[in-house]
Structure formats: structure tokens, C-alpha cells
């Protein structure tokens, strides 16, 4: 990544512009976007930021700021950033304890048979990979984590569930995620975490931020219960 890869800036409405950093998903692009987001969030006139895989949507206060002035600010901010200087020390690592298994992960057998692996191998593959939070969305705190190892790629369920319990850990295509709240959902559920992904009373609100590094750690049924995990919900 170099300054030749300066993002393309395009107005999408009279209060928002879209910065496109690349046409393909990569860790380097994701690092760059996370860093630009951290810098822009402090600037006057910026109302909201929506970082995603290859883009950053910037919403600004068009009643008090001229769009060309905002463009200039964005440009100068990005120019001051060295896209190669996103060292590992800046990256947070989030570890999520998971109770894997049929009791709270009703799709784990289907996933195992689809992937031609045993249930234990599914768990092993899932927890030995370090993931990156490429985007947050769908519902508050829902982090799209990639990429799962090739052997764990599974399609979404043909019929989505109307109610996925809080904390469900699930797979779809080459991604994995934790459901922060009860919502409908079509991902394949393999386990559950007792940890809250979203907490309106906490400073960061969401446990995982875009750009974070995320790992899963297997815990026993007892540990899950001690940590406040709930077994019902389906």
C-alpha cells in the first residue's frame, strides 16, 4: 500500500461522501481504513463514519461546513498518514470464550458433515485461527470476522432462523461472527459465548471494533455457566 493508492472520494448525497480505498478485500486495505477512521473521528464537522471492507462512508454537517472544506480536511488528514505505519501494537486483540457443541450450536453436526470433519476438528479449526474484524453492521456490534480456514467454508442456511439467541457463534461462507442481540439470522451456529458483545453502559459500547484482531477460546459447559452463559433461547 502506498500513496498512489490514495482513496477515491465521491459525494453520494449532500451530506455524505464515500471514500473507496480498493476494489478488493485485503488486510492491508482494512488496516488503512481503520487508521483513517481513527484520524477522521476527531475532526470538526464530521458527524458519523461507517468503515467497511474497502470503503469508508463519511457523514458531515452540511449546515455548517462547506463540502469542499470537508474534502480538503479529509485529503490533508489522509496525506499525513503513512499507510505502512499501522503496526501491530495499535491493533487490539479480543479473545472470546466459546462453549462449542450441539447444546448451544445446533448446526455444528451439519457443519461437520458438510466440511467432512469431526465436530472436534471443526472446533479446533475455528479456534486456532486469528480473525480480523473487517466490518461492523447488520445489528449493533455484529462484527464480520474473516477469514475462516478453507476447510470451514459453509453456505448460509437455506431457511434463516427467525430468532438466533444472544451470543451465538456462527459461520457463513468464509466468515464467522457472534450475534450480539436476538435477531433473525441465516448463519450456521456452532457455539455460544457468555460475553456481552454490546453494552450501552460501557465506554466503547461494542466489544469488537473494525480492524480488531479476534480469537476464540474454547470453554467447558461449566465455565460457560459460571461466566453467566444461558443455555436456552431456541
Amino acid at each position: 500500500m502506498s500513496h498512489e493508492d490514495f482513496p477515491n472520494i465521491e459525494m453520494v448525497s449532500n451530506q455524505a461522501c464515500l471514500l473507496t480505498f480498493s476494489q478488493v478485500i485485503s488486510e492491508a486495505t482494512s488496516n488503512y481504513i481503520a487508521q483513517v477512521t481513527q484520524h477522521l473521528v476527531k475532526l470538526a464537522g464530521i458527524v458519523d463514519l461507517v468503515p467497511s471492507y474497502t470503503t469508508l462512508l463519511v457523514v458531515f454537517d452540511d449546515d455548517h461546513y462547506d463540502r469542499f472544506a470537508i474534502f480538503k480536511t479529509i485529503r490533508q488528514t489522509i496525506e499525513a498518514i503513512d499507510p505502512n505505519d499501522f503496526s501491530v501494537k495499535d491493533q487490539r486483540e479480543v479473545v472470546i470464550p466459546v462453549y462449542y457443541g450441539k447444546e448451544v450450536g445446533p448446526d455444528i453436526e451439519d457443519v461437520a458433515s458438510h466440511c467432512k470433519l469431526s465436530i472436534d476438528e471443526v472446533i479446533k479449526r475455528h479456534q486456532e485461527t486469528t480473525y480480523r474484524a473487517y466490518a461492523i453492521g447488520f445489528t449493533p456490534g455484529f462484527a464480520f470476522l474473516g477469514n475462516t480456514p478453507d476447510e470451514l467454508h459453509v453456505p448460509r442456511k437455506t431457511t434463516p432462523r427467525l430468532k438466533v439467541p444472544v451470543g451465538s457463534v456462527a459461520l457463513a461462507e468464509n466468515q464467522t461472527a457472534v450475534y450480539p442481540s436476538v435477531t433473525p439470522g441465516g448463519w450456521q451456529i456452532i457455539g455460544r459465548t457468555p460475553v456481552n458483545l454490546i453494552d450501552w453502559g460501557s465506554k466503547n459500547l461494542a466489544l469488537i471494533a473494525m480492524g480488531d484482531s479476534v480469537r476464540f477460546e474454547p470453554i467447558s459447559r461449566d465455565e460457560f455457566l459460571v461466566l453467566g452463559g444461558q443455555l436456552d433461547g431456541f
Partner: protein, 307 residues
Amino acid sequence: MAFKVIKPGLLALVQDLGRHGHQSIGLTTGGPMDEVAFRWSNALLDNDSNSPEIEITFGMFILEAQADTSIAITGADLAATLNDKSITPWQTYAIKKGDVLAFHQPVWGLRAYLAVKGGFICEPTLGSVATVVREKIGGLTGKGDKLQKGDLLAYQACSDHEQRSVPRLAIPNYGNKEIPVILGYQYQSFSTFERANFFSCDYKVSSNSDRMGYRLEGKEVHSDLKGIISEGIAYGAIQVPKDGQPIVLLQDRQTIGGYPKMGCVTRIGGGILAQQKPGDIIQFTPITVDQAEQERHLQMARLAQWR
């Protein structure tokens, strides 16, 4: 002191200008579906522009006043009555203890705004009282509940009243069905032919429309792209899924999505769209960012001048 909710109606929500700055964690903004009407209600009472108001959708909503105050009503004409006497929107009314204020059913538009002198008193969550039912945030309880029978909408009692009304010129025309669109996002992936269809055909508001988005039924439009890498969705974005039927994403929209988009409806246009009922017919009309800016600045200048 408070207004007591006698009948909660279909959907009445506490709103302010929205919960901004949290879209990076996937939290939507909420806020008034018709921002122009919302701003005028507060302006009529000389309130802060972000003071909490009630957004009343459709009607069947009845309140009883427990103390004197002054109110403003803007937005849709929902055949409102004050002690069974008809009243019209876009002006202020004096309220006495015991008065009954009712919003019956839509005559013109769909959503009315009720402001009270000094603003409704409500504890904000993450800096805003805006109610987003789907995300269980905001409103009287802080948990995204719509107004219920028996709820108390608190305000500071006040016996001064000033009779004021919005200048006729500044009142939006909900009968104007031309919704302005700024071309953007993936509009180039829609061929000239598809774009021509989109901007020349009538679209009907689907009954599946809500605060999240307005679904439209009409001539199918198709993008050359099958899908896109999920990206941030700005207010008013017109998303076109595989069935070719456009969806305009509004205040309670999801923050990211992976369907191709034609562009964005302006906030003023989105406000007019949000006043349309299922079955109403609209058309889209392309405008430039400059035109949209001018329209917005004119609207804001009218409000500022009047205050």
C-alpha cells in the same frame, strides 16, 4: 407535569434529530422521518432545534394535558382535534389543564409532529432520545418502546402562549410526488436505458414500508453488478436488490449493505416520501449536489430568519 397517553394509536415515538456518531459500531441514527416538519415545530415554540418531540404516524392517538402549556403541530394533517374542535397543523395552540388532544386519521400526509414549549422531558441514551424500536434504544424507557397507554409525556408547565404559524411558502407540499435523487454510489452500473426507466416511471409505495425503508413497486431496474462489497449506507440511499424493485433507506436503516445503489434521496425529498402512504404514487427526479445544497440552505435560512 405531563400529557397522559389515553390512546397510543398505531405508532407514536419520541424523536429528536437522531443519535449520531455510533454508526461505526452498527447503530443506526433514528430521528424524525420528516426533518423539515420536526424543525418547524420546535421553531414555532422557540425551542432548541433538537428538543424532543412526538412523531405520530397515521393517528388514533389521544392525549390529556395535566397542566397549561403551549404546543405546536406540524407535518401531516391527521384530522386533529382539541376538545373535539378541529385544529390544523403548522401552528401553535394554547393548552389548558384537562384539555384533550386527539389525532384521528390522515387527511394529508402520514406523520405529524407534536412539540411542547421547552420540549418533552426525556432521558437521552447515548446522547439522544430518538426511539429505534428495532434496536431497542431511546424513547421514554430508553429501551426503544413506542408510546403506550398511560405513558406520561413530561413537560414544564407554562401559561404564556404566543399564537404563531409557519409561513405558507415554507410548508412542504406533500402532494408534490417528485422525489429528488442525487446520482451516486453504483449509478454507473445501471445502463442509460435502466436509468431512463427509473426516472420516467411511476412507483407505488409498498405496504411493506416503514421507518427503516420505503419499498417501491414499479418498473424493474437492474444493475450490471450482481452484488457489491458491503459498504456504508447514507441516509436516503436507493438500494436495488435482485428483484429490481427499489428500496429507499431512511432514518432507521441498517448501516452497511451489499446491494447496488442508484444514489440518494435528499433529506427534504425523503421527508416528503415519508409522508406518502402505502399505495401512493411517486416519481424520482435527478438533481445535482449543488441543487440539493441550495434547496437545503434555502430551507435552513427560512427557519433561521423566522426565529
